[in-house]
Assembly symmetry: C2
Homo-oligomer: 147 residues x 2
DNA sequence: ACGTAAGCAGAAGTTAACGTAAACTAGATA
DNA sequence: TATCTAGTTTACGTTAACTTCTGCTTACGT
């Protein structure tokens, strides 16, 4: 997990200069944009995280798939498992249902919110420590420079 | 990784009522305080993350070990690997050295800082989404209540 | 002295999240 | 028509971070 991903935020604005339908992406387009392997993208599909159009031989990914991929990777960076991302997607998708279900989704959202707030606190504390250590380190370097 | 840990923030203030030396903890004390198994704590030791006193048969953990354990778990929650936590510990421990080394540590600290800032951004974006979905969900529930 | 609970080490098993290899295919190009 | 390229499936391999199991040792209460 020594990431540092997200290289080229590809400018495939429309992508209708090639054979792909408007607003859809090929597997390599996505893999290049997000710097992950095609295998990984197919793996996410197996897990139910992505649902590209499979009417033709080659998979065609919608904008929705692209957004999901972004969310998956964002979630991963902060320690979400794929299953947890899937859980969140299911909540978003489920849209409108019965009241009991709505309450269920609401409590799940709450659970995630609480966790995210905890994560935020954790990060802020760690950042504070790292920053103070950095400045301490800088002072030492400055002193060494007095030679 | 569906955590929600940190149950009892144990009040072992001194712990000299039992056989343990002042300011030291047993493996079960720590495992209960942080809700992890003793085996896991030994596992962290194998990885070089903890260094309890092993002069006697039973391990004795210092305050330093306890703090480290907290940091390991905090790191885990935000997606750090054990190796990365170890790397951070090594930086802290290394103390004062030669200028070239100091510069090296500084760059490592910088690397972690950048990553943490990215994580923070990720979390804030996710939090915003979750919150808006929550309020949307709430509105739907309110409407359903009109019966 | 004895039973038993707590601690120990070693090894094998488990889960998540992919990577790698082999063998196949559809569509474009020469 | 041949071949080349990007894409496909299937299956096994790998790494991290543990858990579970086995079999042993030490300390404690009676």
């Amino acid at each position: 997990m020594t990431d540092t991903r997200q290289k080229n935020v590809a400018t495939s604005h429309d992508g209708s200069s090639d054979g792909t339908a408007a607003g859809s992406y090929s597997i390599t387009q996505l893999s290049q944009e997000f710097d992950i392997s095609p295998r990984t993208i197919r793996f996410y599909e197996d897990k139910g995280l992505l649902n590209p159009d499979r009417s033709k031989y080659r998979r065609a990914y919608s904008k929705r798939d692209r957004v999901r991929l972004m969310l998956i990777l964002r979630g991963k960076r902060i320690g979400f498992t794929l299953d947890e991302s899937l859980e969140l997607f299911d909540i978003y998708d489920s849209g409108t249902g019965e009241e009991t279900q709505l309450r269920h989704w609401y409590s799940l959202l709450n659970k995630h919110e609480i966790r995210l707030e905890q994560n935020k606190k954790d990060i802020e504390e760690l950042l504070a420590e790292v920053k103070s250590t950095k400045s301490h380190c800088q002072q030492l370097i400055a002193k060494k420079a007095d030679d």
